[in-house]
Symmetry: C2
Subunit: 206 residues, 2 copies
């Protein structure tokens, strides 16, 4: 009989543990995304990076956690970097690039190394459970410039936990990524002031 | 002689005043836009409002002043409204709409009245000298729904002081506005999860 009682008690304790664990997970996920998807902002028009930034701003309004990993960008003089670091500690923004432009036909060793570091950081962020939304800014260009392989990003999408939203920006997104994405917005340039001879303006373009 | 001395002193004082005034104006404008332009984000894809929000975030990083006037939106439950009101007092966000949807074929008196109030607010904001960037969110839809006339917006563009950047968002932008705009980005829907049956998600869609 003592054996049966022991087994019964074990069952009760196990069930209590499961219930409390389920409840904890449920509470943890209360302000989190139940279904994290893949968003892509591509095309030749202005508005891709800003769309991702606006998404981050909207998300923190509902207490989601966001990390922005910028590829091929290294300047701290971007308005978004300054604003986030100054006013929004709940958004993390990191840069994995040089301040100079990457030569598409002949990227430097450093360009490749930094992009690869960014990719590693992206993997860590995605699995860290710390972020609801992971934004990989200009990652599409990094793939187009062969700093990062398309296969590595497909693998990242494949491995992603269901609760994490992944946002990829930049022109020239590969067709294979479009196939795997849940949302793709193409920002088309209908008109751009560059053609009128207007300079790049602080606070608008960067 | 005393008359000549007096006039000389007057001249010196006047010049000092002018110099100091010029310097003040120069300093005032240091972080402002020399050439404010017209930006339009339109199209059927996701990313128009968020592109404008991201633009606002970038701009405050360089100490520009921003106001966002939302048309046909009345809910305080938008992530952007919550985030801005909570963390970014340097951005002003105001809503001129009901929480319910507007019936395109039969907009209510209240819908029209609120949109017209929004337009008046937009005019005041543009001439107030308080803002470098004025964002009129969903104004294109308000025009399409005949809550606001295209002529009124063309007039607004015509009257705008050179230092103010004006940003118009929403699908169905009228052709006449495109003609007057300096930048037009069309956000095209290539893929959208709505078609997959994914619900509107808090922190992502609103």
């Amino acid at each position: 009989i003592s054996k049966i009682v022991k087994s019964f008690i074990n069952d009760v304790v196990l069930n209590l543990r499961i219930n409390s664990y389920t409840k904890m997970i449920k509470n943890m996920n209360q302000s989190k995304l139940k279904e994290g998807l893949i968003q892509v902002y591509t095309g030749n028009g202005k508005g891709k990076t800003t769309a991702a930034l606006g998404l981050a701003l909207r998300a923190i309004g509902h207490d989601l956690k966001v990390i922005i990993i910028q590829f091929m960008k290294g300047s701290k003089n971007y308005g978004e970097v300054k604003a986030i670091n100054k006013y929004l500690p709940q958004i993390k923004i990191e840069q994995y690039g040089l301040t100079s432009f990457v030569d598409k036909n002949n990227p430097s060793k450093k360009d490749i190394e930094l992009a690869q570091n960014g990719l590693k950081r992206a993997r860590r962020a995605i699995f860290s459970q710390l972020y609801d939304i992971v934004i990989l800014d200009e990652i599409n260009v990094a793939m187009d410039f062969n700093l990062i392989s398309v296969e590595d990003i497909l693998q990242l999408i494949e491995d992603k936990p269901p609760s994490v939203e992944l946002v990829l920006t930049g022109r020239y997104v590969p067709e294979k990524i479009i196939e795997k994405a849940d949302l793709v917005s193409e920002v088309k340039e209908i008109k751009h002031w560059f053609k009128k001879g207007v300079d790049t303006r602080k606070g608008i373009e960067y």
